[in-house]
């Protein structure tokens, strides 16, 4: 009897501790994900990036913290000024994406983020980087589509990619609209499989569609 109580106690204790950390993890991640949605300034994103990085350093087998850390740095690149600085934020973001892909080489969302990162590179110097990085972005996004054909963000960003490619290169509005349209359907029908799963892009996609493809409806 005594031994059973002790062993039971041990089981309880470990389970308790484990589920506590898991709970902590979920709680803080959900909280930070919410904060991320509200973030606007460089300071907001930097603080969140730091927080996600701390979590990622501890939870080395999860991709969500790495994903959001990278996403924060991509946003930092978007909101900051100066091309060298923007690039250095993207360099940092890339390190998180690389780590995450190493653990989850077939996670569609990570390739979406990779595509977004490349699009960030283009923004810094469209003239010299446009061709090269739009190809790289396209490659990453098609990979994302391959790993999850229902990922709406893959279609949305592919649409953005195509939209910014000149018509002569096979891009432009006409080529982008079907992608925005598919993305819209996927945004409507796809249910996130995890509370921490990315959900962004629906509104922006709607906006792009309305702006560029409105009269076709």
């Amino acid at each position: 009897m005594k031994t059973t109580i002790i062993s039971l106690f041990l089981i309880m204790a470990t389970v308790f501790v484990y589920s506590q950390t898991e709970q902590d993890y979920m709680m803080i991640m959900v909280k930070q994900k919410k904060a991320f949605k509200m973030a606007q300034t460089e300071k907001d994103f930097q603080d969140l990036a730091n927080s996600f990085e701390r979590i990622a350093n501890t939870e080395t087998d999860k991709w969500h913290p790495l994903y959001y850390a990278a996403f924060c740095y991509i946003n930092l690149s978007f909101v900051s000024e100066g091309s060298d600085k923007k690039d250095s934020y993207l360099d940092k973001a890339q390190t998180f994406i690389d780590k995450a892909i190493e653990i989850y080489p077939e996670e569609s969302e990570l390739f979406v983020l990779q595509g977004l990162l490349y699009q960030g590179r283009i923004q810094i110097d469209p003239e010299t980087r446009g061709r090269n990085y739009s190809m790289k972005a396209g490659e990453a996004l098609n990979q994302a589509k391959k790993f999850n054909p229902d990922n709406p963000r893959a279609y949305y960003l592919l649409g953005m990619n195509v939209l910014h490619i000149p018509e002569a290169f096979g891009g432009g509005i006409k080529a982008a609209c079907p992608l925005f349209k598919t993305a819209m359907e996927k945004y409507r029908t796809t249910v996130p499989d995890h509370v921490l799963s990315p959900t962004w892009g629906g509104e922006q996609n709607q906006q792009q569609y309305a702006q560029n493809c409105g009269e076709e409806e």
């Binding site: 109580i5 106690f9 089981i11 308790f16 501890t58 600085k85 690039d87 190809m135 002569a168």
Partner: protein, 724 residues
Amino acid sequence: MKTNTSLQTNNSTMKVKFIILILFYCQAVFSQTVISGKVTDKKGEPIVGVNIYLKGTYDGASTDADGNYKIKTELQGNQILVVSCIGYKTCEKEMEVTGGSIFLDIVIKESNSQLNAVVITAGSFEASDEKKSVIMKPLDIVTTAGGLADIPSAINTLPGTQMVGEEGKLFVRGGDSYETRTFIDGMIVDKPYESTTPDVPSRGRFSPFLFKGTIFSSGGYSAEYGQALSSALILQTTDLPSESVSGISLMSVGVGASHTQRWQKSSVSVSADYFNLTPYFNLFKQDFDWQEAPKGIGGSLSFRQKTGKDGLIKFYSQVSHGKSKLRYPNYMDVATTNDINLNDDNGYFNATYRDLYGKKWISNGGVSYTFNVDDTKIEQDEIKEKTKSLQFKYNLACLLSEDIKIKFGGDVWNRQFSQDYFDSKRNENFFSDFTDNISSVFVEAEFMINGKFAARVGGRAEYSSLLKESNLSPRISLAYKTGKKSQVSLAYGTFFQSPNDHYLEFNRDLSFEKATHYILNYQIIKNNRTFRIEVFYKDYKNLVKYDSLYLYDPSAYNNFGKGYARGIDIFWRDNSFGNHDYWISYSYIDTKRNYRDYPVSATPTFVSNHNLSVVYKHYISKISSQIGMTYRFASGRTYINPNNPDFLSDKTKAYNDLSFNLSYLTNLWGNFTIVYFSVNNILGLDNVFGYQYSLTPDSNGNYNSFAVTPGAKRFLFLGIFISL
């Protein structure tokens, strides 16, 4: 779930849990520790957004606008505090967490890989997409007007180079063209230029589209590179192409086709091209008397394979055949002419393997092979020159820390040269040849202190089996940041090169030629504007001299030649406008040398004291076109006038050229297409590169001459490049 049910049913465990909870709770109340303080840099400036945390935990904070942080933790005992921020070195500090308040101010050091770290720039210009803060992009080489997508021509708009229109090669800082060596992925290219008949400018053999990075060094380069007195042109080929693509090019001078197939980890590219200037020469009258316009065929095959995580195997090969026939003044008596018939066969192979071992070791190895046969018939005489060149190279780099890198390696270079001369008057063959094995080793260390000071110190040793001689060249480069965006660089080094093939074939007792470089450079890059100024002094020793009357006699050659070059190079580029930009290069040089058959020290014929280039590019997105203009000015060059007893004291008039190009991006039958048009010397100015005098005087004792000019006033080029 299971545990939950058991929890509810098992009372005793519930109690245990309760006790534990209370215990935890109490501990939490009594053991909370607050760590706070300020994070600053060395100057005491607060740093914002620093991530400061206890290793392996969520407990941490970011610094605020004043650099302050506050971490609350319930942990106890020995912990490691980590401080990290972009642009700074991450530091870790062990600390005892005991509860209560801990005040800790932290000073962090700038990381050397940070945005504004110092870089060694003395003597070198770099074009790259991957690195930041480089002065040029690979695309700049393709889109420079007057450059005709030819690497050496585009490099010729940078300071330190000479305008030598009848050669088309790179002449750097008072150096002859053979003093510039071309390297592809670190491997030597023995014949980087196409073979041409006299006074017809040659093009580089390699397409600029093959390369992702170009470093043009006009002096003071790394100990990794040897056998070049003046300059190194270091080309890096592209890695895996991003997608499969086919291309067709239709040009006013020929046609070409290519295909690239990309797989997950490898790719293969093939290309073939044919050029023929006959239709163009028929349409546009040439000043040269072409008996047969230049024509040729060529092909290339390349291969890329990724191995493991970081390994990459690259293979590139190309072969070509070219021919032409020109009726040109006879140097013996320029009133008469000769038919010069040239046949050229060339092949180049390059295979390299790069890999990473751990995070510290970078391994690079490769082999390259060049063969070239130039068969020149001058009327009944014939000269057949064969070159075979094989190089093996291997080097290792070790990143000892973020601040220290050591690189070492070596190469073996086997060269075989032969010349077969058939003298029709004597009906006799003269054959000469040599084989040389040049073995080299080098070691080089790079360090950086605080991102402010950088040094590259190294040395190179070479041994030539033909000369039976070795050399040792120290190389030192230093750089120091003088401001946030500005820096000063210094470079010193000695450089050796084996004498020209045409001297070695008659005399093997010669020594290496030697140059010593001293370079001082200042550079400021601010708001997409670059200003660079460089002064240099170059000392030449052991240059080959000979007596031109006894060319075949070994005793006519010696190493007593010497010379100097000094000057100033200025570069300004304004890239701040977005859709247009321009750069201006200006070089002033003062140089004299006594080499070859010069009777006295004099400024050689390929030198203009002043060289100026203005390159302008404008992208018009409305019509998806880029237009470019290049203006070149070079002051007069010396020429040898046997009627004037003062050697090399005559000068041509100045050279002026305005070139234009247009690239238009469009869609042909659903395929991405670039239409490219260019005109050189749009204003049709008369340019003279020099004067060639008869080697023998006429009956009145006068030496006759003719002006060396471009083959035609203007050159027009139209090309359509379609990607399928």
